[in-house]
């Protein structure tokens, strides 16, 4: 298997094999601190950890260091090429993966999710759908999760209809566009209306590759290469298109959702494994998955098709897809995808905890409630969002549970009567309020007796889920005089 084509370059190293010294040797070594690090070695260390990027070193991008820069770009290049499409603020970069499994480093460039429209939609319907795509969002632990692109499908086969649809889409959204047809004439009509938007072309096949290559070259746009599960043919097409001068390719080995699930999962896995473990250049491109393909089965109910699309999308997210084309706009289908994508692309090396300590919400006074929880990030953010949403005035003690959730921390004895005693003392809780009443999470109910003994505070058992806090406090706060 041919691995490297650039013979003058050393063997490609995985990101984890690169040492700061490898990088340092190629840096200017002037310790100029333009990167805001104390010296070039510190910069090199942060660079290999993914904490800084090459562009943080301005001198490298002057003529003086051009050779060193190119060598560094090669050294640090991800085995899966990063491909960018779209323009402006919503431009989308896909691929750029360094590793097969996220724990080896971290995944970069979250999977883009595109939703389809087609050229038979009446313009009003098309604009309404585009609006829904642009507006779909979910606020998850303080982040707005949303969709990333619009795929325009040519159903009519008519270039002018496709051109009209492309024009309407380009005129109503800033989201990146994917032009979908295997007819180069149709694609050209779409390109004519979107050329300043750098759309992604779908797709070059065994039959149309020459014409598609011409279009991609003429318009300077990235191109999807598609086969139906034949990986030899896929490699042949990639090699051929590379030879045409096209580097920004995206691979679609074929999504056969239901019956062909076995082939599809294995094709995605084989391609990404070859790229990340063998540094195979041909397979070192972003992968495109099409959960929308389940809709071609067609003979069953809408909800079942949506269900299948949700399952297929989720599997492809876990199995290396860098971009997905979907049809369903239902929240119950999209929400788990958006959340799982966010989770999968967080840095597995980052601690999952927030700092322990007192958090003050609203304007609490000496009679306000004192709540306690653990420092697992998701636990804290959930509790925090519930308190804020209800505009509660209270103190929240965040205990260091080693980053475990309440339930796990209780089971593992990280959240115990002892740790609560320590927290009350360290945080000087008695100075916050005049009362001595502590509300513990419902999931820590079993700690109430021993904690009451150990702390001398009256313990109230709060709700099991913090969404119940407003109601709980309405009923239990201020406390009846016999508990105070």
């Amino acid at each position: 298997m041919t691995v490297m084509t650039t013979s003058s370059m050393p063997r490609k190293k995985g990101i984890r094999e690169i040492s700061p010294i490898d990088v340092y040797k190629l840096l200017p070594k002037t310790n100029c601190q333009e990167c805001h690090e104390s010296n070039c070695m510190a910069f090199a260390t942060k660079l290999v950890n993914g904490e800084l990027v090459l562009t943080d070193c301005p001198p490298l991008f002057t003529g003086e260091y051009q050779d060193a820069r190119d060598a560094l770009l090669h050294l640090l290049a991800p085995p899966v090429r990063a491909v960018t499409f779209g323009s402006g603020a919503q431009q989308c970069t896909i691929g750029g993966k360094h590793v097969l499994q996220r724990h080896e480093f971290t995944y970069h460039n979250p999977t883009a999710i595109a939703i389809d429209v087609d050229d038979l939609m009446p313009e009003e319907e098309l604009r309404a759908r585009i609006n829904r795509i642009g507006q779909f969002t979910y606020n998850y632990i303080g982040r707005n999760l949303s969709l990333n692109a619009v795929a325009i499908r040519s159903i009519s086969g008519d270039p002018s209809a496709f051109g009209r649809a492309a024009k309407a889409v380009a005129g109503s959204t800033g989201l990146p566009i994917i032009l979908c047809s295997t007819d180069p004439v149709v694609i050209r009509a779409g390109l004519a209306e979107t050329r300043d938007r750098r759309p992604l072309l779908y797709a070059a096949t065994e039959k149309n590759w020459k014409e598609m290559a011409d279009l991609a070259l003429a318009f300077h746009v990235p191109l999807v290469v598609r086969t139906n599960g034949d990986l030899s043919l896929l490699r042949t097409l990639i090699r051929t298109l590379n030879s045409c001068g096209l580097a920004d390719l995206v691979l679609d080995p074929g999504t056969l959702a239901e019956d062909g699930l076995f082939e599809t999962i294995h094709a995605f896995t084989a391609i990404r494994t070859a790229a990340c473990r063998d540094f195979d250049e041909l397979f070192g491109h972003p992968l495109l998955g099409v959960p929308l393909a389940v809709w071609t089965g067609g003979e069953i109910s809408m909800d079942v098709l949506k269900w299948r699309e949700a399952v297929t999308a989720s599997m492809l997210l876990s199995r290396y897809a860098d971009i997905l084309i979907m049809h369903s706009l239902d929240g119950w289908v999209l929400l788990p995808q958006l959340i799982w994508r966010f989770n999968l692309y967080t840095d597995p090396r980052k601690p999952v905890s927030v700092e322990s300590g007192i958090r003050i919400f609203g304007k609490p006074d000496k009679n306000s409630p004192v709540l306690i929880t653990t420092n697992y990030a998701l636990t804290f953010f959930t509790v925090e969002s519930d308190i804020k949403a209800a505009n509660l005035d209270c103190f929240l003690l965040v205990v260091d549970s080693g980053g475990l959730s309440v339930e796990s921390a209780v089971a593992g004895r990280y959240f115990s009567a002892d740790s609560i005693v320590t927290a009350l003392k360290d945080m000087q809780a008695e100075t916050l309020v005049n009362h001595r009443i502590l509300i513990i999470p419902g999931l820590a109910a079993r700690l109430s007796g021993e904690t009451e003994e150990a702390t001398g505070w009256k313990i109230l058992v709060g709700p099991k889920d913090s969404s119940g806090l407003p109601q709980y406090l309405k009923e239990h706060w201020p406390p009846r005089s016999d508990t105070a």
């Binding site: 562009t55 491909v83 970069h108 979910y138 159903i155 067609g298 069953i300 840095d347």
Partner: protein, 415 residues
Amino acid sequence: MAKKSKERQDPADGADVLSLAPRILELLEGVQQLELENFSMEIGDLDLFIPSQQYSLPGLSPTRTPTLQQKPMELVRESYHPHTASYVGHIREVTLGATKADGGSRARTVTIGGSTAPAYADILIPPVHPPALSLDVFDMPITLPRVLREHVADVLDDPAEWARMNVKKFGADIITIHLMSTDPLIKDTSPRQAARTVEEILQAVDVPVIVGGCGDPKKDASVFTEVAAMAAGERLLLNSVTLDMAEAKTLGTVAAAARDNGHLLLAFTGLELNNAKELNRRLYEYIPPEQIVMDLTTVALGYGLEYSFTIHERARYAALMGDTELAHPVISAATNAWAAREAWMAMSPEYGSRELRGPVWETLNAITLLLAGVDLFMMMHPAAVLTLKDIIHRLGSRGAVAASPAHDWVGARIS
């Protein structure tokens, strides 16, 4: 919002017994969409949880300029040879349940584990044993989200009937009886009574049984010891033993009871492989490794599923690379998905009804960990169970389902 399609057609290929679509449809159709409370979550600006793309290496690639001499007129042929990695390690096989011939009373047993490669990573290495599904039964009426409750409402106070229904109606390979009432803070049911409940389950169904405790290291030890003796020879899986038990000095008692009565142990640890290894080392002093299954902790989608996913991927790779202390089959409580509020809470209409969100949450939680190598799932919602069975079957071997020609989705008319 999803509109329920009233008309239903049978799939074209009626011969495919695993074509589950109509059954899933029935299960989904049974639900009503009731929630219209205008719920919204407003979260202030948080900037502590930084997604990695914030400091990702940008789309910089070396100028790998393909040489632009002459455009090829024909395809430049390349070939493809599958990448086959071989591993020095393999996962132990563990058999749940024992037939009469082997000293138990089960009609069938279920063997899990045996993997010699990461799950679904090599087209030439299909799973040695397909992952198995266990359905939950509780020994006392419990609070369940309505979408779960409606399927089991009639049997909530009859564990034996509940177990029978799980096997007959929902196709459970294994039954898990959770002895929740033994919790000293709930009913503090006696070990003797708990053992009687397990006996009822063993009489009601002929599949292997998992016995779940209450989480109290002392109480669980006395319950498991009693159950182990009562059901000697049945090869139950005792769920679970923990490092807490080691601290409470009850681990040895339980492990010895499992060994002496021919049962299996589920070693539970919280997303920490060093703890998993330490617990296993302690257990090896009492019981053969072939009687140990691991629970590395399943967290709900949205609440840290990525930690479960990664801990399972790491454990499986370490085991295949030769770490025998992690070379045990793994179990996932997919029902933990219901801890996510997105699974059970009424939300504003654009997020769909919780009657669909809940089951899809459990399904995707399980499927994600299936891809990370989990060998046994504990589940509840029938649609999640059917979907997982279907996926396991389809991923089991090439041509498990006759492939249909690829459809052209680009030009397809989709309603």
